[in-house]
């Protein structure tokens, strides 16, 4: 058996040389000082390949046009098994990639690995860093939700400020300032068609250069015998890759990546935020006003990139031990402090969106189809803690029957009677009577009758602001004049899509004094407690 196997290997090697190539790759000698500090390059390559893999998987179920993009991503997140995990891996993988690439650069910088004859390796590395950032920038738009849209509006406008080239860059990105279908197509094209082969090519050049010059040695390596890349250094690289992957996987599982509402170019109240690794640039921009803005947006970042590229030519001293490179350490520490303080300042200055509830569209939103009455029923269901005995969609207690399919067996009249005196219809039941008014019991029954196996979990998970908002809606009899989801009266305007027509502050002012904002309106003024007002407006604004 073993002889046959060896014969096959020899045959294959004669035809393709693959065996020899792998051998040469693995048994390359590396300096005696090589070790844990040199694992980052391998981790970066691994992360790039993981991104390519998860990216391709996403592309299998993704339609790259605005609108369709959003719907197909929702489909991936809510309908496909494992879709949320794959998207999580791709999303957090991007952040992880930035972290690792920067750590790789910091290591090389601290050890002086860029010195003669490795200047070209370093410069290719800087270009790879820029490519990594370009992935982040272009990928940010692809979910086509509000966050993506407004973040990209800011980015393209910054690009448009570049001296001389600005207008051309803007045209290349598809549009004079406005982000639309053309911008989307260009970003997608860059993200999946242009950047990946460019990255592959540059990684190949980068690795070739590392091989050509050998791994950078430390002073003292001349007198020590070199070691082989395989298996010791490969082991260390693999351990690092494994740890990074484990963290990435845990984040993809545990840290929820939200999907906001579909991009709305008319939503002027949206406060755009870039991804965390661009926040420092965003903050730098704020330090310069008026005609000086260009300094923060283009000049400083441009100079920083130029400085990075020129590092090997600025520092041309001999290789010294890493522990003696105080200047390099000081420089890295300074950069780290600067980056951290800028980022922190940006995070701190992020307004909490005035406590507004943000609807998470990466989960099913069946609750939006409920009438306010049914929605209020969800609130009563929670207040009365029905879930401790009854299950909905497989979640909840098992003392009483599962309510998911209750609409098949019972009607509203039976339920309401049962709520009032459980033992009358079900002798011997341990269910206590529910102390709610008739209107409230009607609501509860209406909600339960809406349940079916398809929507049970989604309805059970309706956000708190919506159920509380519906309570306020019901308590103030809004439905006597207004319509939501086709239920209610038409004396006042229907309230679906309110967020498209009015701003929050308009709606809040309108409650206080309807005559002022819509003269001739016969809507009475409402004095709502701040919390009630917020829930009600959040609820109404979430209605499609």
């Amino acid at each position: 058996m073993k002889r046959r196997w060896d014969a096959l290997h020899t045959w294959l090697d004669h035809r393709t040389g693959i065996h020899t190539a792998v051998r040469q790759f693995l048994y390359e000698s590396i300096p005696a000082s090589s070790g844990w500090h040199q694992v980052f390059g391998s981790v970066a390559v691994f992360l790039f390949l993981t991104q390519a893999f998860t990216g391709a998987l996403l592309a299998f179920n993704y339609a790259p046009t605005p609108g369709e993009a959003y719907n197909s991503l929702r489909y991936i997140l809510t309908e496909l098994t494992g879709g949320r995990l794959i998207r999580g891996l791709h999303h957090w993988g991007a952040s992880m990639m930035i972290v690792i690439v920067v750590l790789h650069m910091v290591q090389v910088f601290l050890y002086g690995g860029y010195k003669k004859p490795r200047e070209a390796t370093w410069m290719v590395g800087v270009v790879l860093l820029l490519l990594t950032l370009a992935y982040g920038l272009t990928g940010y738009l692809l979910p086509w939700d509000n966050r993506a849209y407004w973040g990209t509006v800011v980015a393209t406008q910054i690009a448009g400020q570049a001296p001389v080239l600005g207008p051309y860059i803007q045209r290349l990105l598809g549009g004079g300032g406005a982000v639309g279908v053309v911008t989307f197509a260009r970003f997608y094209g860059l993200h999946v068609l242009l950047l990946p082969p460019a990255t592959l090519l540059l990684i190949a050049v980068h690795v070739y250069l590392v091989r050509k010059h050998g791994v950078a040695p430390a002073p003292g390596d001349e007198v020590l015998p070199p070691q082989q890349f395989y298996p010791r250094q490969v082991f260390k690289d693999t351990v690092a890759i494994f740890i990074v992957f484990a963290i990435l996987f845990a984040m993809a599982v545990a840290v929820h990546v939200p999907l906001e509402q579909l991009a709305d170019p008319t939503d002027t109240s949206y406060i755009p935020r870039p991804e965390w690794y661009f926040l420092f640039l965003f903050q730098t921009l704020k330090l310069f006003n008026g005609p000086l803005e260009i300094v923060g947006s283009v000049v400083l970042p441009g100079l920083a990139i130029l400085a990075l590229i020129l590092v090997p030519f600025v520092d041309r001293s001999r290789m010294v031990k890493v522990t003696r490179r105080t200047a390099a350490f000081a420089f890295v520490a300074l950069a780290a402090i600067g980056w951290t303080s800028l980022t922190l300042a940006a995070v701190k200055s992020t307004p909490k969106e005035a406590g507004q509830a943000v609807v998470d569209f990466s989960a099913p939103t069946d609750w939006m189809q409920l009438s306010p009455e049914e929605m209020a029923g969800v609130a009563y269901f929670r207040e009365e803690n029905c879930i401790s005995c009854h299950a909905i969609g497989g979640h909840g207690g098992s003392v009483g029957p599962d309510l998911t399919n209750i609409s098949i067996h019972k009607d509203a009249a039976w339920m309401i009677q049962h709520f009032k005196r459980p033992s009358a219809l079900r002798p011997g039941t341990s269910m206590p009577p529910i102390q709610l008014s008739d209107t409230q019991l009607n609501s509860l029954a209406a909600y339960l009758l809406k349940l079916n196996p398809d929507n049970a979990t989604a309805l059970d998970n309706a956000p708190e602001f919506a159920t509380q908002g519906a309570l306020v809606y019901q308590a103030n009899h809004c439905g006597s004049c207004h319509m939501v989801n086709g239920i209610g009266m038409k004396l006042g305007p229907p309230l679906n899509g309110l967020s498209k027509r009015q701003t929050r502050s308009w709606v809040e002012d309108h409650f206080a004094d309807p005559q002022k904002l819509s003269p001739g309106s016969f809507m009475p003024p409402y004095k709502l407690a701040p919390k009630d007002m917020q829930n009600l407006v959040d609820y109404l604004f979430a209605l499609p």
């Binding site: 179920n61 489909y75 995990l85 298996p231 693999t238 996987f249 398809d454």
Partner: protein, 174 residues
């Protein structure tokens, strides 16, 4: 630099440390491949969660249908295609039988999907593409069709006909 010396002294094949390295490398890569491969498989091969189940769609009034005289009825139904729900025109050949029950056939020939029609003169369904002929109960009379006509699930509400999912008859003739 102690490690280096140990490694130099030990012959590369017999070293337990080397064995450990190699085993650990294979083990960790196997774990990573599984953690990526299994979700990828599930993601690609598991069917989407069917949240919008095929519901019965109203097709039209059948009170005026004559017995054993098939009529092609046109209606609109929502088709769920991935992330898209499209409203599309659809047809069914509806036959009222002597016992007043109603059968609705899918509008495509079971051979290659051509649209067939009712041939009044011969009282058969005729597919013009390859001359498949079906009897009024959907059974294959002649031609290349491999199985009887597909049928819709039907429901009758008063005089209205409602259609559900298209189903292949259980017994195949091929």
């Amino acid at each position: 630099m102690g490690d280096v010396q140990i490694e130099r002294q030990a012959p590369p094949q017999g070293s337990t440390r080397r064995h450990f390295y190699v085993a650990a490398i294979y083990g960790m890569w196997a774990a990573i491949s599984a953690a990526l491969g299994i979700p990828a498989f599930v993601y690609l091969f598991f069917p989407p969660k069917l949240r919008k189940q095929e519901q019965f769609v109203e097709v039209g009034d059948i009170s005026k249908l004559a017995v054993n005289s098939p009529v092609e009825m046109t209606y609109r139904r929502n088709r769920v295609d991935g992330w898209k729900v499209t409203s599309e025109k659809s047809t069914a050949w509806v036959v009222k039988r002597p016992d007043n029950s109603v059968v609705a056939f899918g509008p495509q020939c079971t051979h290659l999907g051509c649209a067939y029609h009712w041939d009044e003169s011969r009282s058969d369904f005729l597919c013009p593409c390859h001359n498949s002929i079906f009897a009024i109960d959907g059974k294959v009379v002649s031609g290349p069709a491999p199985r009887p006509l597909d049928r819709y699930e039907t429901k009758i509400d008063g005089s209205k006909l409602l259609l559900g999912a298209l189903q292949q008859p259980a017994g195949r003739t091929s």
